[in-house]
């Protein structure tokens, strides 16, 4: 049947038209479209990669910053602790010095008191001695007169000067 036989004229027209379109599109059509799409794909994936890298770098910087902050804080704490220690140490030292000083003063005072006491004792002794001698002198002088009056006189002496005798 005629329907199933290719027509030479139409075959020629088809061949011409199709090949022209094929060569035009193969030259300036498809490669441009495919090339551009591939280029864009590459660009997009590159950009994504770059963005990821930038993100990573940013994360690194952030981490560094935090580390520095933490270090600074630790340093601060350490310094505060040290100064605190220094302060207590100073106070302790001052206290110790003060105590030493005080002890020294007290010791000096005691020494002085003891010395004065000794001096006072010596003085009292001397006075007692002098008093005794005086009394003995007066006694000796009155004894000669009267026995009764002698005893009264001693009594009177003692009454007049009780402190001196006690001491």
């Amino acid at each position: 049947m005629d329907l199933f036989l290719p027509e030479s004229g139409l075959v020629i027209w088809m061949l011409i038209a199709f090949l022209i379109v094929f060569f035009i599109l193969a030259k300036v059509g498809w490669p441009m479209i495919m090339g551009a799409v591939e280029q864009r794909n590459a660009q997009i994936s590159d950009s994504l990669l770059a963005a990821e890298e930038a993100n990573n770098a940013l994360a690194g910087i952030e981490q560094k910053r935090q580390e520095t902050m933490a270090a600074a804080q630790a340093e601060q704490i350490k310094m505060m602790k040290e100064s605190q220690e220094l302060k207590t140490q100073l106070i302790e030292e001052a206290k110790a010095q003060a105590r030493q000083e005080a002890e020294k003063i007290v010791a000096d005072a005691r020494l002085k008191i003891e010395k004065e006491q000794a001096e006072a004792m010596a003085e009292i002794k001397n006075e007692v001695i002098a008093l005794s001698i005086e009394m003995a002198e007066k006694l000796l002088r009155r004894e000669l007169d009267d026995k009764q009056s002698q005893a009264d006189y001693i009594e009177q002496l003692l009454k007049n000067n009780p402190t001196r005798i006690e001491a």
């Binding site: 005629d2 199933f4 036989l5 004229g9 199709f18 379109v21 094929f22 193969a26 300036v28 498809w30």
Partner: protein, 368 residues
């Protein structure tokens, strides 16, 4: 609901209007002459090729685009080039004399050269000249080709100007169509290294078949040519696929054909090589027939549904014809919708099988 109904009515009206010319033609030729409606001529007249582009008919005057007839007479005859107006308007028995040769277009119902231009020799014998007329189908081919260039080249130009810029909507559409074929059909079948080499041919084939199929479904002037439902077109496409498969086929492919891995008695007496060589031809042959038959069948079914109106009308009167026309239009809408699917499927099948055959000819031997 009302909105949907409005659309359906509008669609039916448009569908009716697009088929109206064929009915007018048929009725005009049928009723005044009391002729019997010739379904065969009607169907094959619309699905086949023709020398003029019949648009419509107003008051019995045909409105046509007259395409050039270019023929070379047999036996050392001369070239003849004239408008198809002269041969298409001839009445029965008349011939057109051009520079000493007499031509007429054989009717579709004729046994010899139906629907073709024939030369009447001086002794009354008929001879078919070498015919490279720019027919309706040739026009259809060029229309599709020009449409493809107009559709894809501006996008390519935009891409060339700004390859990495943001594509606009038109570029997006082109990109989507291109990559639908590239990633969906070509890449799975062809080794990645060869994709760039064969993609242009396969893309061109896909879009040529796809647009030709779609345009064949639009039933008015610049479209409606049954391009892919014509064997002359599919034979060219199949030959090109044959060319791309075999000319670019690698050593391994040819070794598999001429000296396959089978027992020696199968290939020494060259049974297998012969079978393999025939198979290289049958593959594109199947491609050719599949595309041609699918599209032609779809067109014929639509035309039969239309012809049914006049057949029923002729048998049972105009009333039944009117009833039949409503039924026919619904069925035609269904068929046209189906043909839209077929338009894509056939383009897809042709391209996927072509890329499969090309890909098979590019296989590297497996390491064993």
């Amino acid at each position: 609901m009302k909105h949907v109904l409005k659309h359906i009515i509008l669609f039916l009206l448009v569908a009716w209007m697009s088929f109206a010319p064929t009915q007018v033609v048929a009725q005009d030729t049928e009723q005044p002459k009391e002729e019997k409606f010739d379904a065969k001529s009607f169907i094959f007249g619309h699905t086949g090729d023709s020398y003029c582009y019949h648009i419509t008919e107003i008051n019995g005057e045909p409105i046509c685009v007259w395409l050039p007839v270019i023929v070379k007479c047999k036996d050392g005859g001369s070239w003849h080039c004239f408008s198809s107006k002269h041969v298409c308007e001839l009445k029965d028995g008349e011939t057109y004399n051009h520079n000493g040769a007499n031509f007429y277009v054989s009717p579709i119902s004729a046994d010899k050269y139906p629907g073709k231009l024939v030369e009447v020799k001086a002794d009354g014998s008929l001879s078919r000249p070498f015919d490279i007329s720019f027919t309706k189908n040739a026009f259809g081919i060029f229309f599709v080709c020009i449409f493809m260039l107009a559709f894809f080249l501006p996008a390519a130009k935009m891409y060339k100007k700004n390859p990495t810029g943001k594509p606009n909507k038109y570029q997006g559409m082109v990109e989507w169509l291109t990559y639908m074929v590239l990633d969906g059909i070509i890449r799975p079948n062809i080794p990645e290294k060869q994709v760039k080499r064969f993609a242009p041919y396969l893309l061109t084939v896909f879009f040529f078949i796809f647009f030709a199929n779609l345009f064949g479904l639009i039933p008015f002037f610049p479209f409606s040519a049954n391009v892919t439902g014509n064997l002359s077109i599919t034979v060219v496409l199949a030959l090109l696929t044959y060319f791309f498969v075999n000319v670019f086929g690698n050593k391994h492919y040819w070794k598999d054909i001429l000296w396959p891995d089978v027992p020696i008695f199968l290939k020494a007496f060259p049974l297998m090589p012969i079978i393999e060589l025939i198979s290289t031809i049958t593959k594109p042959f199947a491609l050719m027939v599949r595309l041609f038959a699918n599209i032609l069948a779809g067109h014929i079914v639509i035309m039969v549904l239309m012809a049914l109106i006049f057949i029923i009308g002729g048998m049972y009167g105009a009333g039944m014809g009117g009833v039949m026309s409503i039924v026919s239009i619904f069925m035609t809408i269904f068929m046209t919708a189906l043909e839209l699917l077929v338009a894509y499927i056939q383009a897809y099948v042709f391209t996927i099988l072509s890329s499969l055959f090309i890909g098979m000819a590019q296989q590297e031997p497996e390491n064993e």
